[in-house]
């Protein structure tokens, strides 16, 4: 394990790493070696990470071994796996063999190193991907900003004075800055969708129970999901397919056979799409509303609808999160309170005091709102809502103004994602560039839109995402000054 790199400045390296799909094609054909792809990724990480603070550790020695194994297979003329030679990195709550799993917390730093890789890290390795490092996150995944008191703040690749979002901020910013084409994160209440939205990348939070969480540091077992970030829909789909499959080690992981989506998911004709109003409109600022409208227009969606109980679902998620998170950490909060960050320790203790009746009621609300959602899916195949209430706030900004109301940034950024993860629906977040009164779309900050499917319909979420990508409405953009766009 190596410490995170702290060198140089951002724009001096070749700007384009290439999409995962293109890298794998080129490596398979011998056009590029996995070793040369890795060398370029390392250059980009060394050049760009010092400004952004995405990586808490690099795994370059391991990456060299993995790349060499791929190149050896290629030299022998053997068929290569689908992610052959593709560099990727993971949020530092995924177990990486031989490394301490930090989950963004100093209190974990003295834990024993992981004996094996997390299940989906092992699956990425089997698919030929090359692990280059571990990524920064909010302490213990409790918050939406990645302003980590122990490992520093991860900054937004499109404006370094702004945050990357969280809790998987390092995962989103590393893809957003073009350091890696794919990364992995987790999402308990919005921790894939919020940073994807703020950093302008694609993110997939699958159905609860779809991907194994075995070998990840837990936060809230009732809501914890894992999933990929990518610079394109096809890359997201490639990574998703590689990680599919049941896992008896994770009690929440569904015992379903893999249902791969392929690299070019398609939205079938006649799909019915509803735009979520009510809570989701109320807490979206003008730019977020504009992003939703752009996506809806491109998908020919004109009908507004409401998810009854969205506010209650968010509140239920808040209560269950407090109770489970607090209970999980209670023994260490008693013994080592001072090692927890100031923004999380009192919240965690307070959560551990929540009475059982609130938790049981919250889980009943969750079931009820899930039923309301299933009713909606009798009328619609997909639902659309903004992924964040506004574009990325400034680093250190304690409150946000949304439609004239002030909300705390660290918790409020998840106001539109929390009701959806509470009931476990699959969501693909796509990056739009809605512009603002001050900035034209070509210079604006990104803002994500959630494409929400019925349970187990990731194929429709990704199909709609690809339709928006092909229409040029949703797109990955390298930050200004980093050069040209992604080569596909």
């Amino acid at each position: 394990m190596a410490p995170a790199v702290r060198l140089g400045s951002g724009a001096g390296v070749s700007p384009v790493i290439g999409s995962a799909a293109e890298i794998a094609r080129q490596v398979s054909r011998g056009v590029r070696s996995a070793a040369s792809v890795l060398a370029e990724a390392k250059d980009r990480i060394r050049a760009r990470d010092p400004d952004l603070n995405c990586f808490t550790a690099t795994t370059f020695e391991r990456a060299e071994r993995e790349a060499a194994a791929i190149d050896a297979l290629q030299a022998q003329g053997k068929p290569l796996p689908p992610l052959a030679g593709v560099p990727y990195a993971v949020k530092n709550l995924f177990d990486i063999e031989g490394m301490v799993t930090l989950a963004g917390a100093k209190v974990n730093a003295s834990n024993a190193p992981a004996a094996t890789d997390a299940t989906i890290v092992a699956r990425m390795q089997r698919a030929g991907a090359v692990l280059v490092g571990a990524l920064n996150m909010e302490e213990l995944a409790y918050g939406f900003t990645t302003e980590n008191p122990h490992y520093g703040t991860t900054r937004n690749p499109h404006d370094h004075s702004r945050g990357a979002g969280g809790s998987s901020g390092g995962s989103a910013a590393a893809v957003g800055a073009g350091m890696v084409p794919i990364s992995l994160g987790s999402d308990t209440s919005g921790s894939i969708r919020v940073p994807a939205s703020l950093c302008g990348v694609f993110g997939l939070k699958p159905t609860y129970g779809r991907l194994s969480r075995s070998g990840t540091f837990p936060f809230v077992n009732s809501f914890d999901h894992v999933g990929p970030f990518g610079a394109s829909v096809s890359d997201l789909a490639l990574a998703y397919d590689a990680m599919l499959g049941p896992d008896s080690q994770d009690p929440a992981c569904a015992q379903r056979a893999p249902e791969p989506v392929g690299t070019a998911p398609v939205l079938p004709p006649g799909i019915r799409i509803g735009i979520l109003g009510g809570w989701f409109h109320e807490w979206a600022d003008p730019a977020a509303r504009r992003a939703v409208q752009l996506a809806a227009t491109a998908l020919n969606a004109g009908e507004w609808t409401e998810l009854k109980g969205a506010e209650a679902a968010r509140a239920a998620a808040y209560i269950v999160t407090g109770a489970e998170g607090g209970a999980l950490h209670r023994p260490r909060l008693i013994e080592r309170y001072g090692e927890f960050g100031p923004a999380s320790r009192a919240r965690l203790v307070a959560g551990s005091l929540i009475p059982a009746s609130w938790v049981v009621q919250a889980q009943r609300v969750r079931r009820q709102v899930y039923r309301e959602a299933l009713e909606l899916f009798k009328r619609y195949d997909l639902l659309i809502a903004a992924a964040a209430p506004a574009v990325a706030p400034l680093v250190g900004q304690e409150t946000m103004e949304i439609n004239g109301r002030s909300i705390p940034t660290k918790a409020g950024l998840g106001v539109l994602t929390q009701p959806i993860s509470c009931i476990g629906l699959p969501v693909c977040t796509v990056p739009l560039w809605p512009g603002s009164d001050e900035l034209p779309p070509e210079r604006s900050l990104p803002l994500g839109v959630q494409l929400i499917g019925a349970p187990w319909r990731e194929d429709l979420c990704l199909g709609a995402a690809r339709a928006l990508e092909q229409a040029g409405v949703a797109e990955f953009r390298l930050p200004l000054g980093y050069g040209t766009q992604l080569e596909r």
Binding site: A312, A315, I319, A350, S357
Partner: protein, 69 residues
């Protein structure tokens, strides 16, 4: 309305008493400043819990499943 805005003076005293009792029951030992900070956090949770507790549910509605043997 944002949940934090529902915290009122009226419920602050029983909240503080609850927090002190629950901390003792759970085995925590904190100084007064820490207890005050935890009480603020708990009052936010209590405000949010009002939305959950007031949500009308059918009497026999079940909790979401959390255990599969």
């Amino acid at each position: 309305m944002w949940h934090d805005q529902r915290v009122t003076e009226a419920n602050s005293e029983p909240l503080e008493s609850y927090v002190r009792a629950a901390l003792a029951l759970q085995g925590y030992h904190f100084d007064e400043a820490q207890i005050a900070e935890i009480t603020v956090q708990f009052s936010r949770l209590e405000a949010i819990a009002q939305t959950v507790m007031q949500w009308p549910l059918p009497f026999a509605s079940e909790a979401a499943p959390v255990f599969r043997p």
